[in-house]
């Protein structure tokens, strides 16, 4: 029987469309030409300039600190949220679910405007702390969704079994539930970390003087043509980090599926 080649061709084109721009970026980070229209020889000079750009590293360190603090808070809150959404099913969870899902469905711009209105109305000066609060807010939903996805395949009878064998509620949570959920929680934490490192739109709304995160720094670098090739080099390094994170999260996913 002859199957249509159309879906396969389209899939190949979609993959090309998604990855070609990034491949060009990586190539250009080694290209001596400034705009990368033509290949003018191999160079490390953009990486050297990146290495000397202190303002980029300051921004990177701030982003790293914020992402770590965000991940800690969002993972705890998101995991608790996922567990209560999974375990209970009443009016309270109805409201709870809406509050978890809505931040994912609304554009970031609105979340940024909302938080800006809040901090302005309460006269709270914007800075690292407001960025952290904003990041935790949108990361809770992502962590909750990832953990909830894992909970769907989770056999709750295991908890009852542990209970019947004489374990107390905290013992059940700590010795049975947590180890079984750990791959899901770690995958959620990794996602939260990545999202916090990457966020530009919401951060732009709630950042103040002296709180330039890495994406904000990239945005200001994009305005001067002198630093454009340096962004290529920085992007290549960030792509490598993203690749490692994705590979790690894939491994975590594989470990929790039982061998069949």
């Amino acid at each position: 029987m002859k199957r249509s080649r159309l879906p396969a061709t389209l899939t190949a084109l979609v993959l090309l469309f998604l990855n070609a721009p990034l491949a060009v970026l990586v190539l250009n980070s080694f290209n001596a030409s400034r705009f990368g229209g033509t290949w003018e020889g191999f160079t490390w000079q953009w990486y050297e300039r990146l290495w000397q750009a202190d303002e980029v590293w300051d921004a990177f360190l701030l982003s790293l600190r914020l992402a770590t603090a965000t991940t800690l808070a969002a993972t705890v809150l998101g995991t608790l949220a996922a567990w209560s959404l999974h375990r209970f099913n009443g009016r309270l969870q109805h409201v709870h679910r809406a509050l978890i899902v809505l931040p994912l469905a609304l554009p970031e711009l609105l979340m940024g405007m909302a938080l800006l209105s809040l901090f302005t109305a309460l006269h709270i000066p914007t800075g690292p702390l407001t960025i952290w609060a904003a990041h935790v807010t949108f990361c809770i939903s992502y962590v909750a969704m990832v953990v909830l996805g894992r909970l769907r395949d989770f056999d709750t009878h295991l908890l009852d079994a542990a209970r019947d064998l004489g374990a107390g509620p905290w013992q059940v949570a700590y010795r049975v539930l947590l180890p079984l959920l750990l791959p899901g929680i770690l995958a959620g934490a990794l996602l939260a970390f990545t999202l916090s490192m990457d966020d530009f739109v919401i951060t732009f709304f709630v950042s103040g003087p002296g709180s330039t995160t890495l994406p904000l720094r990239i945005a200001s670098m994009m305005k001067t043509s002198r630093s454009l090739p340096v962004i290529n080099a920085l992007s290549t390094l960030l792509l490598c980090a993203t690749f490692l994170a994705a590979a790690l999260s894939l491994r975590l996913g594989r470990r929790c599926t039982p061998p069949s």
Partner: protein, 287 residues
Amino acid sequence: MKHVFRGRTTEWLLTTPSLLWLAIFFALPAGLILMAAFRPADLHGGLGDGWSLAAVHALADPSYPALWFRTLWLSLVATLICLALALPAGYHLARLPRRRQGVILLLIVLPFLTNFLIRVFAWKTLLHPDGPLTRLLQNCGILSEDTLLLYNSGAVLAVLVYVHLPFALLPVYAAAERFDFCLLDAARDLGAGAWKRFWSVFLPGVGAGAGAGALLVLTGCLGQYVVPQLVGGTDNEMIGNRIVQRAFSDRNLPEAAALSGVLLIALLLVLMAQARKRRHSAREAGL
């Protein structure tokens, strides 16, 4: 037998942290957008004392209808293109062997997890007048010397599709993976042609995933401002650009809040309609 963690107190203990956080940093601020729209602007870009209808009256600005229309038009076209690409790709992907699926998923997720600004920047380099794509097309004689690939609605549309495509692709793939492909064979045995099989069997089968994906793309596009700002010209601004301009350049937070409020209410209505429809179909399936 008493189940573990089932009590009312436990439910509140487990729910309160995230519920409280989201109430303070999400629900309350969303309501504050609507409140800020009825306050006067102060000189420092904040909110003045008392109440004012100035920002609401400013919504009647004669430049806004065209802006709203363009925002809606660009977002709808981007959503349709995303679906047109995601449906065949999701179909193809779900029929591949497991191992191949993993590799291809990585090729979809990797650009998706890459910094959003960098993805837009990559397109800016690609379409730049001195960039590789312009050179290539000029050398092939497709593009004349003075035609710009950047700063037009085509560039905005292409990048909107680029950054939002995974939002459509992943839900469609997830739905297609659960789809029973034997149904397509059955339809063929009953004499249905390729298009008929696609429209009447496959599409209803992955409809929920496609709908969820399309909604994510649509809402994402409607709130976009970075893409038109970086790859669009002055004629390609979307409503998001005006919101950012009012909030930061004009230092008029109430007007920015009024525009955001309109967008927020419109999106909430769409989301509520979709939730109602889903509950309705779930009830019908339950009967």
